[in-house]
């Protein structure tokens, strides 16, 4: 039975219930209850080593939690197959591994994997979806390039194109703007914001750039380390006091024509 055939879920989206996550003797979060609702664009903030990546992997079901559950559309992840999960939830890893040669289009096309039956070959429709995803991240024309000939930023955008081809309702993105130039950072976040605004999609991103967070994310989850977390709408949570405590560095804020701007003091 596929997820789509199940009874209409009460809560579309991703939720953590009493979630406790440890890594390397550290607590990332303790008894975390949180709902990443449809239509929301979340930023995950924290210092290096606070556990952003670990929490994203746990939310994706790729790492066991110490206790508590992660629910996808109201059903615990453990009750779903990886394939069922992958049709609804995508993850952009922090880095990419390419030990084997591959072409750009083939890599983007792998996003269709969870949607195809085991014996099914990618058809013209799948290729069209992958091409469109590549165009959305400004990689049109590079379809036949070898992946190892791409620049760091292009490789990153190819990773995003793979997620876009997968087309999950919930996208977990681990530092999606890493390696991207300024234009592509803004273009990418604007696109993700647009996608969530349609009301059916959710994005949860680990980010470091406070100004991008302020401009594009409507919700913020702060990981303070040692299990303490704070989450809520951006305008309520993204204060200079919270940020100074979170980052261990005094933060200033000014208002500008594009909204608030944050800077280290």
């Amino acid at each position: 039975m596929s997820a789509a055939q199940g009874a209409m879920p009460e809560a579309a989206g991703l939720a953590a219930r009493g979630l406790t996550v440890h890594i390397g003797g550290k607590t990332v979060c303790r008894d975390l209850d949180i709902v990443f609702g449809a239509g929301q664009c979340w930023a995950m903030l924290g210092r290096n080593g606070a556990g952003k990546t670990t929490l994203l992997h746990t939310l994706a079901g790729l790492r066991p939690a110490a206790s508590g559950t992660v629910e996808l559309d109201g059903r615990p992840l453990a009750a779903l197959s990886r394939r069922q999960v992958a049709r609804r939830l995508g993850l952009l890893p922090q880095s990419h591994q390419d030990p084997f040669p591959a072409r750009v289009l083939e890599t983007a096309l792998s996003g269709r994997h969870p949607h195809l039956a085991p014996w099914q070959w990618e058809g013209p429709l799948d290729i069209e979806l992958a091409r469109r995803a590549l165009a959305r991240v400004d990689l049109a024309g590079l379809e036949t390039r070898m992946v190892d000939s791409l620049s760091g930023g292009e490789r990153r955008r190819l990773g995003l194109a793979t997620v876009l081809t997968q087309d999950p309702a919930i996208a977990l993105l681990d530092e999606p703007v890493n390696h991207l130039d300024l234009h592509h950072q803004v273009a990418l976040l604007a696109m993700l914001r647009e996608a969530t605004r349609s009301g059916e999609r959710t994005a949860v991103m680990a980010l470091h750039d406070l100004n991008l967070v302020a401009r594009y994310c409507d919700h913020v989850l702060m990981l303070f380390g040692e299990g303490e977390v704070l989450h809520g709408p951006t305008e309520r949570v993204l204060t200079t006091e919270n940020l100074a405590r979170l980052l261990g560095h005094p933060i200033g804020r000014v208002t500008s024509e594009v909204g608030p701007l944050y800077f280290p003091m």
Partner: protein
């Protein structure tokens, strides 16, 4: 488009290699006579016996062994996420060789030798899997290190057995270690295993494609990575065990054939796996034909010929670069 051409081409290459193997040897058999013999028609008694009882079983055994090794190599490379992995890297052939040498040392041969080699391969396989799995976590690196260290251990045992063995049995042992198809009389089992391996691996082929981009990415794209790893390990190990049981440790095929196909631009494992089986089989049939004819009546170790064919072929492909 290239892929669609490749498999038929490899099929033709396979047929050509089989024909060449059946036509070559000290007794001249013409193509027309060969067709007659193979189709059950008339043929002179002598030619008939040579083709059907000697050349055909050995040729089919060579094909099956090459197909087994090339498939196992392709699977191991994905499992260990290392294009340099070969079927022997985890010590499965070492376990088989150790057991085979013990069997040869006590004077066993034929079926008992095969059973012993297969048992040795199974022991090596279970040992690697058990030890690599021990800590609970299971990573390609841990598996690779466990396998490489155990392979070194098997290597030491093999050296010890060679040092302790009387001169009379050394020659047979060395031939076994270098790979030898002269004793392979019953190809049906190996052919069945090679075909079964392909049938079992093909449904996993698209998952293998995804796995080449990393375990995390594969998990995110809906692959049950733990289960897939276990399946590939079991499959690759059993294919390797079957190959070494038939022909000893023939080197090079398992490393070079999948890689040569990758250099030719085959990246989709749905094409790569059957392609590797065909190319590996054809390469070993050619190599074995040369091994038994080049210096006839002297037989050369087939492993020497696979290297002599494989090294230049591989270097040429490598110079061209990935397509």
């Amino acid at each position: 488009m290239r892929a669609r051409l490749l498999l038929p081409l490899l099929g033709l290459l396979t047929l050509a290699s089989l024909a060449m193997a059946l036509l070559s040897g000290s007794l001249a058999v013409g193509p027309v006579e060969l067709l007659h013999i193979l189709t059950g028609g008339r043929g002179t008694g002598m030619a008939r016996e040579v083709v059907l009882d000697l050349r055909l079983p050995r040729t089919l055994a060579a094909f099956a062994t090459g197909a087994l090794l090339a498939q196992a190599g392709a699977l191991m490379q994905v499992l260990l996420r290392n294009p340099l992995a070969d079927p022997y890297v985890l010590g499965i052939s070492g376990g088989a060789a150790t057991a085979a040498l013990v069997a040869l040392g006590v004077g066993l041969g034929g079926l008992a030798l095969s059973v012993s080699a297969f048992a040795g391969a199974l022991v090596a396989m279970i040992l690697v899997f058990g030890l690599a799995h021990g800590g609970g976590t299971w990573s390609p690196n841990r598996l690779l290190l466990t396998g490489v260290v155990l392979a070194a251990g098997w290597g030491a045992l093999i050296s010890l057995l060679l040092a302790l063995s009387p001169n009379a049995s050394l020659r047979g042992m060395l031939f076994w270690l270098m790979g030898d198809l002269s004793g392979a009389a019953h190809p049906a089992t190996a052919l069945t295993v090679a075909a079964a391996g392909l049938v079992l691996a093909l449904p996993l082929a698209r998952e293998l494609n995804v796995l080449t981009t990393g375990t995390l990415q594969a998990g995110a794209l809906g692959v049950n990575v733990t289960r897939l790893h276990a399946a590939i390990y079991l499959l690759a190990s059993l294919l390797t065990a079957a190959a070494v049981t038939v022909a000893g440790s023939i080197g090079f095929v398992g490393l070079v054939v999948p890689h040569a196909l990758r250099l030719l631009g085959v990246r989709d494992h749905r094409v790569l796996l059957p392609g590797a089986a065909l190319l590996g089989g054809a390469l070993l049939v050619l190599a074995d034909t040369l091994a038994r004819t080049v210096a006839a009546p002297q037989q050369l170790p087939v492993g020497v010929i696979t290297a002599a064919l494989g090294v230049p072929l591989f270097l040429v492909l490598l110079r061209r670069g990935y397509r």
